[in-house]
């Protein structure tokens, strides 16, 4: 409405072109208003419940019923005349959650811990299956017999004889100290 009036008053080509552009864009926006996906327009003031922002940029409820509107009118008078229910209704018009509701803790952490442990368990099962069916057989150096021969060879060549390996072997008695 206002755009058409402006175009009429100014009458210049530029204004008319600008007015046309604005009306078409507003027409486009109007047709977009009834689409299925409700994308939040982040260029407009938003509402959010945050401890550190007690009064958000806009009221919670945008669309007011006639009952809400009459309550808003009553709000202009003395507040002592409002009942507790009316005061609560006014609060809920402007805000979604109260501070205690905002701050309440949830049991989400239990789900998270359970999920993490479940995934770790699943991975453990996969690894067990892998060692059984995927990994090749162990090298022969892991056999007990080979290991025994290896230890004897290490003792024979006196590996770390002062404070380490061979130092633990009693060469006279032929046993570990």
């Amino acid at each position: 409405m206002m755009l058409r009036l402006t175009a009429g008053r100014v009458g210049s080509l530029v204004a008319r072109r600008a007015a046309v552009a604005l009306t078409t864009s507003s027409a486009r926006m109007a047709s977009h208003g009834h689409e299925v996906s409700e994308a939040v327009d982040m260029s407009k003031p938003m509402y959010w419940d945050r401890r550190e922002i007690p009064l958000p940029d806009k009221r919670y409820k945008d669309i007011l019923t006639p009952a809400d509107k009459s309550l808003k009118e009553k709000e202009k008078g003395p507040w002592g005349q409002l009942s507790n229910e009316e005061k609560l209704a006014l609060y809920r018009l402007s805000f979604c959650q109260t501070y205690p509701e905002m701050n309440q803790s949830s049991s989400e952490w239990k789900t998270v811990v359970a999920g993490v442990l479940y995934c770790i368990g699943l991975t453990g099962l996969v690894i067990i299956w892998q060692t059984a069916y995927v990994s090749p057989p162990a090298p022969r150096t892991f056999d007990a017999e080979w290991q025994a021969k290896q230890v004897k060879r290490m003792l024979d060549m006196r590996v770390s004889p002062i404070e380490g390996f061979a130092a633990q072997w009693d060469y006279e008695k032929g046993q570990w100290k």
């Binding site: 401890r51 009064l55 005349q81 507790n84 609560l88 402007s94 509701e101």
Partner: protein
């Protein structure tokens, strides 16, 4: 004495050295080593003047409250009183109740600050007809 016991931010520690609840409003302490530091009284006076503007608009109220709540302090009763009166001029009861909730939340674990605040604000609350969140039953989930 409390400094060792209570783990608070730098500006918060200053408040705890004065243990009586009357002195909660602090200087908005900035990390400047130069320049004159604003005293508590100057801080309070500045904020009371801000909210006492007779033709304050809704944006200014919101901006003021959100800024004030952003500071590491609980506002003095006289600042909250000025803010509540500003709500009355703007015919906004919901914001008045929200302000009371916010200052209670600001006090955090210090449970004795909010009752003191309400006690100091009682005349204003009665004069303007503002119910506290407790009276409306929204202080519990």
């Amino acid at each position: 004495m409390f400094r060792a016991a209570v783990r608070l931010s730098v500006s918060g520690v200053r408040s705890i050295t004065r243990t009586q609840p009357g002195c909660q409003a602090l200087l908005a302490s900035r990390g400047y080593s130069h320049g004159k530091q604003e005293t508590d009284e100057e801080f309070d006076a500045r904020w009371v003047t801000y909210f006492n503007k007779s033709d304050i608009d809704a944006w200014e109220l919101r901006k003021g409250m959100n800024t004030l709540i952003g500071y590491d302090l609980v506002p003095e009763p006289k600042i909250v009183e000025a803010a509540l009166k500003a709500c009355r001029r703007l015919n906004d009861l919901a914001s008045a109740i929200r302000i009371l909730e916010a200052v209670k939340d600001k006090a955090g674990p210090h449970k004795d600050i909010y009752p003191y605040l309400i006690q100091e604000l009682k005349p204003t609350l009665e004069e303007l007809g503002i119910s506290t969140p407790e009276e409306l039953g929204i202080d519990k989930v």
